[in-house]
Amino acid sequence: MRVSTVWMQQQSLNTMLDRQSNIATLNQQLSTGKRITQPSDDPVGAARALDLGHQIADTAQYQRNITAANARLSLEDQSLGNVTNVLQRVRTLVLQAVNGSQSDATRGDIAAELVQLRQQLLGQANSQDSQGEYIYAGNRTGSAPFATQGATTYMGDEGQRMVAAGAGLQVATGDPGSAVFANIPTGNGTFTVSAGATNAGSVVAGATSVSDPSASPSAWDGGGYSIVFTAADAYEVRDAGNVVVDTGSYDPAHGGTITFRGAQLALTGTPVAGDSLAIAPSTNQDVFSTLQNLVTTLQMPNGGGADMQNAMNAQLMNLDQAMGNVTRTRGLVGARMNTLDQQQGLNNDLTLQYKSSLSDVQDVNYYDAVSQLNAQTTALQAAQLTFSKMQTSKLFDYLR
């Protein structure tokens, strides 16, 4: 076939230009490390890279959220640890106070320390985080949840801040003060015992429990009852309508346990006929009131009698409920931190996986690119050589 001289040169030139363009593309891929420098290089891959970038950003945000949540939970854990320490000191003091060797004066000293401890506890309940938010105020984090003077009504709400720790996983990062300090059931959690105000004997109620929730013939029903001693060694149990529902005998010398409707009361001391014990369903009492009640009881003049014993025992049970509540909350906090740790590990794995997928999609394969670059360079050199050879073989050159 005939070839035209100019077109042959042009095609040879085009070949060189094409090679150079390929080399430029490879050069860009190698210097950026990216196989996709613009969407047209791989339209589906480009969209996939965007998607993976979004997943990576999402997961990184979850990790940030977990860090923030851990900070809040650590603060709460630390604060609850302090609360536990304070309550343990209170308990030690209360146990000292109920010791028979105490006088009004020493009880007054203990009461004074309890007042201090109560203030300390209030300080913990009104803890603020680094941003000045009250951590036990539910969602009303702008103001202190417990008043430091007067009645300690909870002024926060029941809100609980959640954090997004992963796709579909939200973890609470706080507890409202109501749940930690305020809504604590009195007594043994089911009922309370209080001695009649006119009791003349020395009967003191100790440990109580609902030992058998399915007792027959009739189980514990949550009602109010009274135990009335008809003699030092005999009692009646009356219900709220003053109807006798049970009777029994009591050994004043050794003390004993009264059981009715599945409820158990351990009693000591000697009652006098007409003495009574009131049994009422548990209500909620905040831990500050419990402390205040202890202080009030300890400051009673001519203390040390059965009336003080009964009152102290009742508040001690309330204190134990409060301690149990704090311990349970701390356990919850620990469980949440544990969940967050696990999710953090999971998020790390996911990030690694996303990043490796992203690299597969958009990063250049260096071995491949370098070998292509070599091939293209060789081809360019060949094209250049061909062109220069072509220029020297002209018939006109020989016709001289």
């Binding site: 076939m1 001289t5 969209a47 940030r64 941003q131 009303r140 984090t141 709400d157 018939l395």
Partner: protein, 624 residues
């Protein structure tokens, strides 16, 4: 001897013509569109002399260009393909580099939602609230900057359309002029002048690269050229200019019109002009629309979640973003006073298409821009609007038959995307109400609530819902109402949804969520909007809508680039074939030169011999 002399002279002259043609070929070796010329010779008629026919020399029969109409036609068609592919590739490369740059919407979305989640971790913190607004501003400017780049490209396309039309008109005028010259020259000499034909062919090739054409040769050596489906561009020595005219719906946009004034934009294919129209209609417009859809989805979903929450002052959250709705444009030729109002009512069924609503004198009909009919429900009144494709259309005034409106649901949305919130405290991080189950509740119902109408004046009033039985409840001691499990209870603008069955005596109290600076429940929900599907029936979230746009643009670029390679190969092949016939080969010309030189020298030798013979004769006569 006289015969020998004249025979020799004819040889000399023929060789001169040959050498002249070789010189012309060599001289034009670099002339674009030049076809090499060939000399054809013929023996002169012999003379009857002494019982024999004696040859009398050579005549130059013709100087013709080496030419194949078939190969030239293929070259023109390849040039049209190449012109289209080159323009398309260059435009799609531009739009691809725009979306591969730093203005990546997905990154902006991730930063924004990251700031929202940071705020969820510290809802009362002024700095984290401020960061949300700052990121929202960055997101808005990403939308507008991407849209601005697309608009700039559209402006460039518009300018190129005008320039291409000008170039087409000047080329067709030149072709028409050459048609006239060639016809005259061929009429005078009986032979068309090769060099003028070459010039005209080169222009036709250039024209084919600018717009797809069909070429019809006429018997008088002129070419008629048509564009589209039969719109004449050149007939005989007359050119018919194309023009640009404002679009009937959008005066800022140009259409291509024929010399008669009719719009032929839709019928043009091939060449630069075809590629420009193709790019505008099939790459740029869909990209702008898709980006607009993403902007509309972003604003609608985020604002809707804002309205479910309460800001730092406890008021119902206001909108954070604003975005334009559908663009309605009346046709410039509308005779009536009809108006059309379009709004988006359902993002889930919103399409990426544009629509034309036309009145035929008795009824309105909706078509998409490809001409396919779209079914509508409703009557078009404000109370019962036409509904189709996620749009609600209300017609007003008195339209004349034939009047039409174009509706572009999302075209301008991205450019209008803006942040309307300026006070960081207005970000609705908290829930507006609290719902508390009574402590004595014995049923399994867990309450959840939503805001149906936050503007209800009694919205924040406390209420209580008390169940007298699992299927009956009353609100604030009002009349008993039937409770259907799964159906929300609505009152005062809120809706209460119970998960699980309530028992008789259960009560739920609803109250304003006052002083809840630390509440992040709606902030968490705002953070989840990022992955909330809303478009395409809830299958596509904002980020996905953007990546779809990137895929569309990328595919257009990849196709254009592959097409360019293909068209380049087709063109090279056509050019090689055409050049194998018409191209100048210098070696060949060198050989021809030698050949004619030798023929010239030989003819000169013939004359010299004749002269010698004559001298011999004269000498013989003198000596007698």
């Amino acid at each position: 001897m006289a015969d020998m002399l004249s025979t020799g002279v004819s040889g000399l002259l023929a060789a001169q013509v040959g050498m002249g043609t070789v010189s012309h070929n060599v001289a034009n070796v670099n002339t674009a569109g030049y076809s090499r010329q060939l000399v054809s010779f013929g023996a002169r008629a012999p003379e009857w002399q002494g019982g024999f026919y004696i040859g009398t020399g050579v005549d130059t029969m013709a100087v013709q260009r080496a030419y194949s109409q078939f190969l030239n036609n293929s070259l023109w068609s390849a040039a049209a393909g190449q012109g289209r592919a080159d323009t398309m590739a260059s435009l799609t490369t531009q739009i691809n580099s725009q979306v591969s740059g730093s203005t990546n919407l997905q990154t902006a979305l991730d930063s924004f939602y990251g700031a929202v989640q940071d705020m969820a971790n510290a809802p009362a913190d002024a700095a984290s609230r401020q960061a949300v607004l700052a990121r929202a501003g960055a997101l808005a400017s990403t939308f507008t900057s991407l849209s601005g780049q697309f608009s700039q490209l559209a402006g460039q396309v518009k300018q190129q359309l005008g320039e291409t039309v000008d170039s087409i008109n000047s080329d067709s005028a030149a072709i028409a002029k050459l048609n006239g010259l060639i016809r005259t020259a061929a009429g005078n000499n009986g032979m068309p002048p090769a060099d003028l034909l070459d010039q005209r062919d080169a222009l036709v090739k250039k024209l084919a690269g600018e717009v797809g054409i069909s070429v019809v040769p006429q018997t008088d050596n002129t070419l008629n050229i048509y564009v589209g489906n039969g719109q004449a561009l050149v007939t005989n020595a007359e050119a018919h200019a194309l023009g640009t005219a404002p679009n009937q719906y959008d005066a800022t946009r140009v259409d291509i019109v024929g010399s008669g004034g009719s719009v032929i934009s839709g019928r043009i294919g091939g060449g630069t002009l075809g590629a420009l129209l193709d790019f505008r209609g099939n790459v740029l417009d869909p990209a702008q629309t898709q980006l607009g859809r993403a902007a509309q989805a972003m604003a609608a979903t985020f604002n809707a979640q804002q309205a479910q929450g309460a800001d730092l002052q406890g008021a119902i959250g206001g909108p954070m973003f604003s975005v334009a709705g559908p663009v309605v444009q009346a046709a410039s030729g509308n005779g009536g006073s009809g108006t059309l109002d379009a709004t988006i009512t359902d993002l889930g069924t919103l399409t990426g298409k544009d629509y034309v609503l036309r009145y035929d004198g008795s009824a309105w009909a909706l078509q998409d821009t490809s001409g396919a009919s779209v079914a509508m429900t409703g009557t078009g009144t404000a109370g019962d609007p036409f509904r189709a494709a996620g749009l609600s259309l209300v017609v007003g005034g008195a339209a004349a038959p034939g009047d039409s409106f174009r509706v572009q649901p999302s075209r301008n949305a991205a450019s209008s995307f803006a942040v309307v919130m300026s006070d960081p405290n207005k970000v609705a991080a908290a829930a507006p109400l609290t719902v508390s189950p009574a402590s004595t509740n014995s049923g399994a119902a867990i309450p959840g609530f939503g805001v149906a109408d936050g503007s209800n004046p009694a919205f924040f009033s406390p209420s209580s819902v008390v169940f007298s039985s699992p299927t009956s409840y009353s609100i604030d001691g009002g009349p008993a109402q039937v409770y259907t499990p799964g159906t929300p209870i609505t009152h005062n603008g809120w809706s209460l949804k119970l998960d699980g069955a309530p028992a008789a005596g259960d009560a739920f109290s609803i109250a304003a969520n006052t002083n809840a600076r630390g509440d992040n429940s709606n902030a968490l929900a705002l953070g989840k909007v990022a992955n909330q599907g809303v478009l395409d029936g809830g299958a596509t979230n904002v980020g996905r809508a953007y990546s779809q746009m990137v895929t569309q643009i990328g595919s257009a670029g990849a196709v254009a680039s592959a097409d360019q390679t293909t068209q380049q190969a087709v063109f090279n092949q056509a050019m090689t074939a055409q050049q194998s016939v018409s191209g100048v080969n210098l070696d060949e010309e060198a050989a021809n030169l030698v050949r004619y030189q030798q023929a010239y020298q030989a003819s000169a030798q013939v004359i010299s011999t004749a002269s010698t013979l004559f001298q011999s004769l004269l000498t013989a006569v003198q000596s007698v």
